[in-house]
Amino acid sequence: MPRVRMYLRMITRAFARRISRVLVASLSIIVGATTLSALAIITYTVPEQIARELRSYGANLVVSPAGTQTVRVEDMETINATLAEAGVQLVGYAPYRQDNLLYNQQPLPAMATDFALATVLRPYWSIDGQLPSVAGEVLVGRDLAQRYGFKVGDTISVVAQAEQGVDSEPARLTISGILRTGGTEDAMVLLALADLESLLPSGGRLDMIEYSLLGDEATLESVASTIDREDESVHAQVVKRITRSESGVLLTLRALIWIVSIVIGALTMISVTTTMNAVVSERATELALKKTLGASNGQLVGEFIGEGVILGLFGGLLGAVGGIAVAGLVTQEVFNLNLQASWWVVPVTMTAAALVSGLGTFVTVRRIVGINPAIVLGGE
């Protein structure tokens, strides 16, 4: 048997057959790796997604039904006329209607819009495939596609639930593209207003119209109150765009998180060295015995570093998985974003943890050299 194989066998056995001790020893690595990988994901993925959302807020005026009233497609014409009269410049606008369809008895959130208009206001929409161009073509959100295994080109059969509980005839929709936004659209099916209307007639009902207007806040406010006055059934609201300076805050945050990471890294390192020293004391007889068998200090240190690296890879793996989970939770709760899986952190975290743990093991050198087999093995 080659010596390298025996070396690997010794250190992996020390790992596998002492697993409960190993778990305790790698606890600090796991905790450190979880924190660091979660921070890394949040720092590098969230701002990217937020930046995409920033662009999303192309709309700065949103019109929705007032109270229990209904907004209809005709209202859009009136509002557009009002805006033209007020002399504000219209960059873009888009109508939306939301409803639930049924797919295999499961509710399928649907959003209907005018794709040509919506894509102007939501340039961050990223589509694998094509925008729907003919009737019966739809986009499905990434999360939906994942859940049901939808692919571009698939045809799905949906029904609409009518008011009296009588389902409509099944309609066949063709998926022309998968939509990725990082926002709520990811869990929806998007179709043309006319398609939804024929599935589920509503008399041209809309739930929201988004406007992107040129003008300062005061202008927008006055336009909003004009719209409210002109049309009793609608309510116009100015929405604040997230500005560039606010995204600057994200960069500051990123720097801050880096500092926190360095502190956590240092704490993990200290904890690893303490643990490793304890492990050397715990296994002093084993080390002394190996010395009596003729092992050199260098060989013993080499074995410990090998064990340290394995420990790091192991702790790093668990930590990365934990970090992905924590980051997912945080971004969901705090930023209200659906985090895209960040598998890149797994190899990065494992490498970093192996490095920290391997380096941390170097502190044991002095203790290993100091082990005197005559005293350790002779002592009762």
């Binding site: 048997m1 080659p2 025996m6 010794m10 002492r18 068998l293 003729g294 005559a374 093995l377 002779g378």
Partner: protein
């Protein structure tokens, strides 16, 4: 007949502060000899073994292993001598807990030269534990563990085997097995130095030295010893 010597100790002392664990010991050990070391607790038996086993150095006096001055060697050189020429057996076994019987033996091969599983298995067979190769130390009885230690001590064919109370923790049956193995080693020409409290075990040796307060108080030589190495007092063979 001109028997060769393995160890030559002259004026060897090992002091711990005021206390002399070994006090001016002169001793010659012959190649192929089976030597028993006896004496009350604290008389310096383990101290002597540590010096012979290259794990400790005397504070004064000289120790020759063959022609080599042990007391002049550094830690690294002593480690090399240990791995190449000495097999050690301890009262408390000292097997590596997370390695199987077979792996424990292969560790000794690993530090000596190259692990050889076939040879390691043969060594386990020799101590009657071929069937237990895959067992961890905690799955073995005390006697079985000690037999693994014997197999480990002889795996690299050392010229000297040092055993400190090898049967101290064993029942009679296992003691017999270990002593049988020692007899085989002795027949093969291995130099055996065995520390023991047990008079019956001590009587197996060709010669007994009785330590007291770090000095050799008495030497008992058997006829067998006289035949093999000649009648001599403590000191040089004729």
């Amino acid at each position: 007949m001109d028997p060769q010597t393995v160890y030559t100790l002259s004026g060897v002392s090992r002091r711990y502060g005021e206390l002399a664990a070994l006090d001016n010991v002169d001793l010659t050990i012959h190649m192929g000899e089976w030597l028993s070391v006896v004496g009350p607790s604290g008389s310096g038996k383990t101290t002597l073994m540590n010096i012979l086993g290259c794990m400790d150095l005397p504070t004064s006096g000289t120790v020759l292993l063959g022609q080599e001055r042990l007391d002049r060697q550094g830690e690294r050189e002593l480690a090399i001598i240990r791995r190449q020429r000495i097999g050690l057996i301890f009262q408390k076994f000292h097997l590596i807990k997370h390695l199987t019987a077979l792996e424990n033996i292969m560790v000794a091969q690993y530090y000596h030269s190259i692990p050889d599983e076939v040879e390691a298995r043969a060594a386990l067979d020799r101590v009657g534990l071929g069937e237990r190769a895959g067992h961890l130390p905690r799955q073995l009885s005390g006697g079985e563990q000690q037999r693994v230690c014997v197999a480990r001590a002889l795996i690299n064919s050392p010229s000297v085997v040092l055993a400190d109370e090898p049967t101290g923790n064993l029942d009679e049956a296992n003691e017999r097995i270990v002593l049988d193995l020692f007899r085989q080693l002795h027949d093969e020409g291995t130099t055996l130095i065995v520390v023991t409290h047990d008079a019956a075990v001590a009587a197996q040796g060709q010669r007994q030295i009785i330590l007291n307060h770090g000095r050799i108080a008495r030497v008992v030589e058997t006829e067998d010893y006289a035949r093999a190495f000649g009648m001599s007092e403590i000191g040089e063979p004729r």
